[in-house]
Symmetry: C2
Subunit: 267 residues, 2 copies
């Protein structure tokens, strides 16, 4: 099972930490200083990880977009990313269109984009709207409110409401988690209602109250990543990895790719 | 006593909240929705407040810079602010140069700029360096690490170190708090060593452990603004308002203004 996950958002929003938390891995070398230099341009980089979940092997390609959102002038920042997505569609189209084609075509198309929204703003920033509108017809976008421990519960409720209203107002099409039968997925409704997910990530295990938890230790208390009273991490992990990974690939194949193919072949 | 304080930094870094916290005021209507619209350009706005501190009246002008740092392309964002600073120097020069001039010239020159650095990045962002270098020869810059409750104590120590190194590396001249005699100011050394100040602000009073404190209430604990174990708010307030306000005005008059006057008259 192969899955291509892109992450995008300005530096320092905890993208690497979240990927490591989600997949219980050390894919990103978080201490690598060269990764931390301010870049002059946006690049697109792929990291491959092999995960085993319940005996099933998951080949995950994490596509990173360092430099996005960090420049003085970000009006060109979207281009390398849009080009990458199109390029992957194009490669697939080429392989699929061959007379003598393989049974199993290598699928490098982007199945999902986790887009990190800064919890600082009073809502979406100009770059958020600009970027998501460029990609919402090509990729399944799951907006993530990053560093949710920056907000109190009341601020988070208000911010989520603002983000939802602005997504509607600006006509941004985000991935809709489909309904599933209740028995197989008792938490599904509760999880789905938390969208957009407000997330906290951590690479550190903390001793809290005699338990060992993934979290962040502050002088005023310990934030627990896997505590649903603290943030929506478990909801995201559950929805993304357990429940909807197949659907994300299907929608990519049946909707986004078909749109691309139709537009490309009818030129 | 008149003091002109400019605040700058991207939206949502808690500038309004901090000004309200520093001066125990409600100068900013934080619920005003029109203030929250994403702007298309940068504007410079002045708010006047009258404060009484120990029987002394302080006329504080807070100069806000809404829109700064929020645009897709921020390369022009600095201009309205630099223009404003120069304009105030120019006004003063005109009044000072008159044959028949007033004893007490109205002083609208910017005495201090609190520049808010996002705690998200891995250091200074391109816009931070760009902006501070445009203004460091014109205004006393005090860089502030905003929303310090986003960082653990270890992350804060590392971030401060990174910021200090980058300020040196990029040749940014920030305001140097002068030394004072120990007896009058026992906390001075301790406060001065905390630069750049990592700050938390709040407009809300919380009940914590039977005490009523200015703070932020999270599910995992209460952050106290006036607790020096939680952040440097008290250090900033003390240094800015009690100890160094005169010096900030003097340096503006004797150094920044003189540089401007010399450059302008020798053109
Ligand atoms: N407050 C907070 N900080 C976080 C969170 N996740 C990561 N960080 C910290 O934010 C900094 C940047 O994280 P990193 O994962 O490198 O961000 P990236 O540049 O988006 O990949 C590090 O100091 C992390 O420890 C979070 O959920 N909340
Ligand atoms: N985590 C955190 N949030 C803060 C802090 N100060 C203000 N906020 C919150 O950040 C949001 C924006 O604050 P505001 O003062 O309006 O920011 P401004 O746009 O820079 O003036 C509000 O929800 C505040 O309650 C702080 O020190 N830490």
């Amino acid at each position: 099972f192969e899955f291509n996950l892109m992450v995008a958002g300005e530096s320092g929003l905890g993208k690497s930490t979240l990927i490591n938390s989600l997949f219980n891995t050390d894919i990103y070398d978080l201490k690598d200083p060269s990764k931390r230099k301010l870049r002059k341009t946006v690049s697109v980089e792929t990291n491959k990880i092999i995960l085993k979940e319940k005996g099933v092997q998951l080949r995950l390609n994490v596509i990173d977009t360092p430099g996005f959102g960090d420049l003085l002038d970000n009006s060109q920042s979207t281009n390398p990313i849009v080009d990458y997505v199109n390029e992957k569609f194009h490669e697939y189209l080429t392989l699929e269109s061959r007379v003598n084609r393989q049974k199993q075509i290598a699928d490098n198309r982007v199945h999902c984009l986790l887009y990190f929204i800064s919890p600082n703003g009073h809502g979406l920033k100009e770059i958020d709207v600009f970027f998501m509108k460029k990609l919402h017809d090509k990729v399944n976008i799951i907006p993530i409110i990053a560093k949710a421990d920056t907000m109190t519960s009341e601020e988070c409720v208000l911010f989520k409401k603002t983000i939802r209203e602005e997504i509607a107002k600006f006509g941004i099409k985000v991935y809709e988690f489909p309904e599933v039968e209740e028995e197989g997925y008792p938490d599904h409704k509760n999880f789905k209602n938390r969208v957009p997910f407000a997330i906290i990530g951590s690479n550190v295990m903390i001793d809290n109250d005699g338990r060992r938890v993934r979290g962040r230790k502050y002088p005023w208390g310990v934030v627990e990543v896997e505590n649903l009273h603290h943030n929506d991490f478990l909801a995201l992990r559950n929805m993304l990895i357990r429940t909807h990974m197949h659907d994300l690939r299907d929608v990519t194949n049946n909707v986004h790719y078909e749109n691309f193919r139709y537009a490309t072949l009818s030129e």
